[in-house]
Symmetry: C2
Subunit: 353 residues, 2 copies
DNA sequence: CTGAAAGCGCTTACAG
DNA sequence: CTGAAAGCGCTTACAG
C-alpha cells in the first residue's frame, strides 16, 4: 500500500489531486511567481501529504541549465607540489559533474605573488560563475575578493584554510589547531626527558603564517597541558632553498640536544634532504603532507611521520558542496574538518589523498 | 568547433550519420542482437569517431529497469558493535542509489553461529538479486555460497576480508598483513629494549583466525626484519567476556616486563576495561577499530592507538562497485585496499569511518 | 494567474 | 534485421 502510493508520487499525481496543470505544480515546487496564494497553499499541502521527493534524474535531464563553477587556488610549483592534489580533486569532481551540465573554470595563481591572485580573481569574476571554490592564501586580498562575491551573490567555499572573520558557504579543510595538538601527542611518545625539539616554520610569505602559527599554538598547548619540560625551540626560515635551510639547521644541531624536528608544512622534504646530507638521519623527523619527495624520505626512514589532511578530498568535497547547494538545493555543512591522518613507511601505500 | 561537435553527439546524431534509426543505434550500444554485421560495424565506427559518451542521466530515466542488490554480513552485537559501521555504509549507498532505481535487501547473521549464515544465504538467493555484497566470515560456507552465485551468474563483492582462493567481482578491505606490519612499526617507537610485548588474539570462532594470524605474520616479519630483540608473547583467548580476559591478562602481567599490549581486533575495549580495573593504565595499549567503547578509553588515555580501516567506507565502496559494474557497465578494480588509519586521542574527532 | 504542448536523450515494446 | 512511436518525470517557452 505504502509502496503503491510511493510509486505514484510525481508532479502529475500532485497536479491531478490539486486540479491544476503540472506547470503550476512546477511553479510551486520552485517557488516561482505567478500562482495564487490559494492554489499555492493547496499544492504545498498535497506535496507534504504525499511526501513528494522530486526525481533529480528527470529534473537534470529536462532542465538544460548549465552551471559554471570556478576555482581559484595556488598552482603546483617547483617549490612544492602540494597543490597538485587539490587540483586532482577538482578534476575528479569536474568529471562527475559534467554529466549534470556543470563546467569548471580553473584559475591558478603563484602563492609567492599576491598580484597574480588579484589578477586571477578579476578574470574569474568576469566569467560570472555560479559558484566559487577558493583557497584563501592572502588574507587581505581574499577579503576584498569575498566582498565582490557577496555583491554578486556568488556562493564561495573555502578549502585548505578558512578566512578569519569571513563566512562563505562552507569551509572544507583541517582544524589547524588540533593538527598541532596531535603532533605534540605523537612526539611525546618519541622524546626522552633530556631531548629537545626543534619546530620549523619554513615559508616565504609571512601572510601564510597564521596557518602555521595555529599549529604551533596547538602544539604548545598540549605540551603545557601535559607539563612536559623538554626544551622546545621554534625557528622561522624565510627562504625555502636547501642552502638556507641547511645553514640554519646545521647551526642549530651543532650544540644542542635536539632529537626531534617538527616541520609545520610540506617543506619537510627539504629538511630531510639536509639531514641526509649532514648524515643526521638518526634524528626523528615529522612533517606535513603526502608529497612524492617526502615519501621518498619516508621510505628511507629519514622522515618518520607525515601528517596529512586529504588535500584532494578537500577540493572534491568543496566542489560537491557547491553542487549540493546550487543544483540539489540542499543545505550544506558550514564547516567540514578533515580527518588528521598519520602516515608512516608502512601505511603510505594505502593512503588515498 | 570541438565544442559544437560535442554538443551534437547523441544517439540521434549517430543515427543520422549512419542512416539508421536510433533504435538500431541503441541495439549496437548495448550489444543486443538483431543488427546486421555491416550496420553494426558502421555504427561502431561512428561512435568511435564521435567519441560518443552516453548520457547516463537520460539512460537512467528512460530505462525503468529496477536492480536489486543484496548484502550479507554479521549483525552488530553486544559483543562488538563493529558491524554497525559497514551497515551504515550500505545505508548511505542505498540512499544515493535509490534514485537510480536500485533497492537493497539486507541479510544479517550471527558471527558466532555459522548456521545463521547458511540460512541467510539461502533466503538471499531466493530473491534473485542482481549483485551481492558479502563479508565472508566463514570460509567453508562462503565457498559454497560463492559456488551458487557463480552458477546463477551473480557478481559478488567482498568486504572486510577476502576469501582465500576465491575471486569475486572485487575485494574492498584491509591488507591484513600490512596492517600487522604497521602496528609493529608503531610499537617499535614505544618500547624500550627491556620491555616485552603481549599480543592478544581474542576471538571465539577459530575460523576467523586466518584474519588475525595474517596480522601477526605482518607484525613478526617487521620485528625480525628490524632485528628487534624484545620478547613477543602471543596469546589466544577463546572467550570474549571480561571475566576470562581479566583472568588471563592479570596472570600474564604478574611476573613479566610487559609494557605494551597489542590486541589484534576490536576487543581492545574489553582489555582496556580490564587494565583500568587492574589499575595498570600505565601500560601502552594498541588495538583495532573505531568503536564507541574504545573511544571512551582512548580519551581516558587507557588506549593509546587504534588502527582503523574505514569499515563504513568499505561497504559503501563495495556497493558502488556493484553499481559501476551493473549500471554503468564500467570496469571495476578487483582489489581495493583501504588506508590504514592511526587514531589517537587528538585526531579521533576528525575520523570519519 | 494558469494550461497545453514540446522537449531533455535515452529505452522499450510493437509492428513489419 | 529495422524503424516509428510512446514514454521516463520533469522544465521551458508560449499562449491565453
Amino acid at each position: 500500500m505504502k509502496k503503491e502510493s510511493e510509486e505514484l508520487v510525481g508532479v502529475k499525481e500532485i497536479a491531478r489531486r490539486a486540479n491544476v496543470s503540472i506547470a503550476t505544480v512546477d511553479r510551486v515546487l520552485h517557488d516561482r511567481p505567478g500562482v495564487s496564494l490559494k492554489t499555492k497553499e493547496k499544492i504545498q499541502q498535497i506535496i507534504k501529504e504525499l511526501n513528494y521527493q522530486p526525481n533529480i534524474v528527470a529534473r537534470t535531464l529536462a532542465s538544460r541549465k548549465k552551471l559554471k563553477f570556478a576555482i581559484i587556488m595556488p598552482a603546483s610549483s617547483e617549490e612544492t607540489s602540494y597543490w597538485k592534489a587539490p587540483l586532482d580533486g577538482v578534476l575528479q569532481a569536474e568529471q562527475e559533474l559534467r554529466q549534470y551540465g556543470i563546467s569548471v573554470e580553473k584559475y591558478l595563481f603563484d602563492q609567492n605573488n599576491r598580484k597574480t591572485f588579484v589578477k586571477q580573481t578579476a578574470a574569474l569574476l568576469q566569467q560570472k560563475p555560479d559558484g566559487i571554490l577558493l583557497a584563501p592564501m592572502f588574507v587581505e586580498e581574499s577579503n576584498q575578493f569575498m566582498q565582490q562575491c557577496r555583491e554578486q551573490s556568488i556562493p564561495v567555499v573555502f578549502i585548505n584554510s578558512d578566512l578569519p572573520g569571513q563566512s562563505g558557504l562552507a569551509y572544507v579543510g583541517p582544524d589547524l589547531y588540533q593538527s598541532g595538538y596531535l603532533s605534540a601527542h605523537l612526539i611525546s611518545y618519541l622524546v626522552r626527558p633530556s631531548d629537545s625539539i626543534l619546530m620549523l616554520h619554513i615559508t616565504r610569505e609571512l601572510e601564510m603564517d597564521h596557518h602555521l602559527l595555529r599549529k604551533e599554538e596547538g602544539f604548545r598547548t598540549y605540551w603545557q597541558e601535559q607539563g612536559y619540560t623538554q626544551e622546545l625551540i621554534t625557528m622561522h626560515i624565510g627562504q625555502t632553498d636547501t642552502e638556507t635551510i641547511r645553514h640554519h639547521i646545521s647551526r642549530q644541531l651543532k650544540n644542542s640536544s635536539i632529537r626531534v624536528l617538527f616541520v609545520t608544512n610540506s617543506r619537510v622534504a627539504a629538511v630531510a634532504k639536509v639531514l641526509e646530507e649532514l648524515d643526521r638521519t638518526d634524528l626523528l623527523l615529522i612533517g606535513y603532507d603526502f608529497l612524492e619527495d617526502s615519501i621518498v624520505y619516508l621510505k628511507k626512514n629519514v622522515i618518520d611521520f607525515l601528517i596529512c589532511q586529504k588535500p584532494q578530498e578537500q577540493a572534491y568535497l568543496g566542489m560537491m558542496a557547491l553542487y549540493d547547494k546550487l543544483v540539489l538545493n540542499q543545505p550544506v555543512k558550514s564547516v567540514h574538518f578533515m580527518p588528521i591522518d598519520i602516515i608512516t613507511r608502512e601505511n603510505y601505500l594505502f593512503y588515498n589523498n
